[in-house]
Structures are given as structure tokens and as C-alpha cells.
Amino acid sequence: MKKPLWKRILSFLHSMKLAMILLGLIVLACLAGSMIVQGEISAYYESMYGVNIACLIQSLQLDQVFTCWWFVILVVTLCVNLLLCSVLRLGIVIKKCGQQTDFRCRISVWGPWLCHVGMLLLIAGFALGQNYSLESYMYGVPGETKHVEGTEYSIRINDFTIELREDDTVKQYTADLTVIHEVDGAEISGIAQVNHPMDAFGMRVYQNSTGWASQVDVYRDEVLEDSSLVCVGEALIPGSMPELALVFDKFYPDYVETEQGAMSKSSALNNPCAAFSLYYGNQRFASKVVSMDHKVIADPFWFVFHDPQPYTLIQVVYDPYMGIAAAGGALMLISLVICFYVRPQDMRKKKTGSSDTQIDKNEEKSV
């Protein structure tokens, strides 16, 4: 007699066949996601592949493979398959375990089941983290206090140092920080370095990156109108003339003019210079390299760069689900050791007097 439809669907949903198909499709998706640069704008794909292929890439969402709906469906279906498989096999595994008399035999029957559960935990922890964790970035210089977006916390940058070696390469970036709870004023101070994040209030604070910033004074008709800290890549727009913009293009701490153009001899502040561009109504009308305290005149304005200093880019992550993913990864590792190397005791005893190949086959079956 033919099985009812729901039973056939259930049977397919926890089948090995479906798992193999899904893993194969995930491999194909990963291939596309690694070969096609992800998250670029339409113009990029059109210039790289032509209009027709760019259109195909975007309509199939191959430009955002790992977050698109069909990839999520593939992974969710794989999780359903793993979950059903684990639930339905639990009884069988417990029964098999109960039938074993030897401790190692009992352990060994759990290997594949634990591996699947570990994988489920890993995917679940990662998915929860992707959707419900917090990630925020802020930059600043020593003395500044910045609010952490989406939280009740702010971070004060007490100090920021760049440790250099003799050959001028960077040994370590160190940010001395204080995380402040804005409501009750509680504070936690600590050091964040590359590879050594700081933990505070359940959040993890990373020394992510660095760059140069300079104080820029804006004068209008010889009267100081504004003074702001501007980072490289940022624009300063005078409040009284929003059509005008000064863009801080590049910073040279030890400026020197060479045949290849402007460059910095070292990272020491021996001859600090700023490269800038001036825009009026999105039209660039000037571009130059100036030394500190030099007046940049764009009548009726003056701009003066001074007091350059490195800024730090701080990354704040709050991911309470990371522990689930970590537990999943650890469980998978343990289960693989069980799968491949915890052999049933009785099979080991059989080694005497039988061929190695025969025993190996038995061991393989236990996996």
C-alpha cells in the first residue's frame, strides 16, 4: 500500500538524498559567491561582465548570494533535514547505546548524531548572530567620547598609540578606552589592541583600524566660524555656505616630492602636509598639498589645517549567540574524534588472527 502524502514528504525531508542535494546546491552557491564580487553597485557588474550578464547576476541575486532569500531557504531546509534526522534517530541511538556493554562502544554510537547536532547549533548560532547581534563602529582621537549606536553606552578614548619597529613597520595599535553606561554612569576601563579585544558590559570592543585626522579652522571674512576635527576622506562644509566643501584627500606625515609624485618618507610627523580638494556645487575647482598652518583661501573663506594626529576606529560587537555557535563547533570536533577514532572494543579484540583489511572494514562500519 502506498504511504500517505505527508509521510512521504516527511520521509523525504529527513532523507540523506535531500541532504546530499542541499549540500551540492550550497556548494554551487558558494562557488558563485566566491567568484562574483559581492555587494557592489550595478555599474560595477556592467563594467565587469556587460549589461546582459550583469542583469542576470542581479536578478538571480548572485551579487549578494549569502544573504539572498534562496540561499537562506537552502540553509533552513538543511537545518530542517538535520533536525528531523536527529530527532528521529535519537531513539535508535539510545537503543543502540543501551545494547552496548563496553563504555567506548556506548560512546562511539553517539558520534554521527552529535556531529549533526553540533552542525545545527553552529548554523543556529551564526544565523541568530547575523540577525540579532549588534555591530557598531566609531572613530575618534584621545579625549573624545563617542556614543555607541543602538546601545546605552558611550566610549571615551583615553589614549591611542601606534608602536613602531625600527624599520617603521607597525608592531601594535593600542587604544586605552573607558566604556560608560550612559544611564547609571558605571564605567569599565581597559586596553583594546589588534588580536586582543576588550570586554565590557557583555560587549566586545576591538581596535579595528586607524588613519590620520587634522583639526581644520574655518574663517569667513577673517572671523573664526568653525573648528572641526576632519579625518582623511571626510569633507568639511562651512555652515554659512553649504555649496562649498573642503575634502581632506590624503595626509603625509613626512612629506617629500619625488619623481613618482608626493609621498611620505616615514610615519613620523617631520614634515606634515595635507592634500585637499575644494568643491563648489559638486564641481572641483582646486586641489593642492599644503603644510600645516598654511592658509587655504577660497574667498571669502580661509581654511587652516593644524594639529594632525592619528585617529582610532573602534568596533563594538554584542553577539550573545556566539556561544551557541562555539558550542556547535566544539561538539562537531568532539563528535568527529568519536566517529573516526573511538573504536568499539570488541572489534579491536578481533584484530588477532584476522586480516587488517577485514578489521578496517568493521571499523569503518562503526563510523
Binding site: 558558494c30 579585544p197 566586545r204 563547533g329 583489511t357
Partner: protein, 276 residues
Amino acid sequence: MTAEKFALAETILFTAAVMAYLIATVLYFIFFSMKKEWAGKWAGQVMVLGFAVHTLALVVRGVGAGRLPLTNQYEFATSFAWGIALCYLFFMKKYGFRAMGVFVAPVVFLIIGYAAMQSREVNELMPALQSNWLSIHVSTAIISYGSFGVAFGVSMLYLFRGKMAEDEFRRKELPELERLDLISYRAISLGFLFLTLVIVTGAIWAERAWGRYWSWDPKETWSLITWIIYALYLHMRLTKGWRGKKAAWFAVIGFVCVVFTYIGVNTLLPGLHSYA
């Protein structure tokens, strides 16, 4: 000893290792194609010698640099070749047949040859690479890739053995197909366990260095592809009874993925692993 002396010693030892692996490859070719047993005996000895000299080259590099030599293209390529040679010697000692080297020695030679084309300059480490997790991550990768390299060599032997005429040489030097299949499975099991460890330790390091344990970087994505390929192999083998040619081809495809994950991703795809 000065840095220059360390560099000179390393160059001599590294070149000797390259030459030894080349000679072993040629001897294995003579052994397998002309069925000369003496060539097989010598090839095995030269492989051991090459491995010993290669180990010394890595030790000298490590002492000279003041750290484990695992952090740039050259260092990982030479360590990758060393890992395959180590796993080859381990499996050869365990299963005792020298023909395993027929396809493993050329792989070792090609990878160390790739290392020879990279810059051998000893650079100071950037802050992100100053991590013990990195050392564990790359060390486990060497064992994993080494095991997959052996599985590849044994699987190639499996595919060739089936085509060879039954004679004295085949009976004496090449194990039965069933045994070759099993050795390949064993090597893949070891490689798969270590590949999982590579991914887990890499994720821990990435979390500490970049604030994200998984960011779909091409290297991460390709290591996942490789992991899934071998996971499919293990599932198909254990549940569908895949053996023989199908399994051998899977082992070959898996190793192609391993090589692409290491060399292809670094040279063709941009990402966070551009230094390694």
C-alpha cells in the same frame, strides 16, 4: 648567527630539499613506468632524505625569523609541501608500501616548486598576524592538506592500478584495490577532522582579529566548499556504500579544491587572506 647567515643556510637546505623531491619524483617515475624495483627503493630513501633536509630548512627559517614559519605565501607553501611529505611518510610506515609515493612525490615537488617562486624575504608580522591562534590554525591546515594530498596520491594509484596488467610487479608492489581504497578513506578521515579544526581555529582567530568569526571571505568560502566535498564523500561512502572508482574520483576532486583553496584563492580572488 646573523640574518644573512640564516638566510644562506636556509637557501642551501631548501634547494637541497627541492632537488631531493625532484630526484624522488624521477625515481618513482622510473619505478612505476619501467617497473624497476631498485628505483622504488632509492626513491623512498631520497624522499626521507628530502624530508629531513626540508625539516632543517624550516627550523633554520623559524630560528632566523624568531617565529613559526607559517605566515606568508612562501612559508605556507613550503610548510604545505612538508606536511604532505610528513603524512606520506606516516602512511607509508603504517601501511608499508612505497608505491604510494608515485603520485605523492610529484605533488610535494610541485608545491615546493611553487614555494621556490615566492619571495623568501623574512618580514615582521603585522599586528593581525601576531596570534597563537594563527599558528594553531596554519599548523592544523598543514596536517589536513597533507592528509588530503596522500589521499589524492593513493586514489590516483587506485585509478591507475585498475588499468595495469596483472604481473609480478603489480602483485608485489601494489596493494589490492580494496586496501588502496581503505588507505585513501583513512587519510581523508584524518584530513577531514583536521580541516574542521582548521575552520574552527580560523574562526576563533578571525573573531579576535577582525571582530567576526565568519565573513564569507573567499578563503573561508572555499574551505567550506572543500569541507562539504569531503563531507559528501564520507556520507556517500558510509551510507550509500560508495567505494572504488567513484570514491577515488571524489578524493581527486577534493584535493583539487584543497589546492585551489590555497593557491587559486590567493592569486585569483581578493580577500582578507591575501598575505597567506
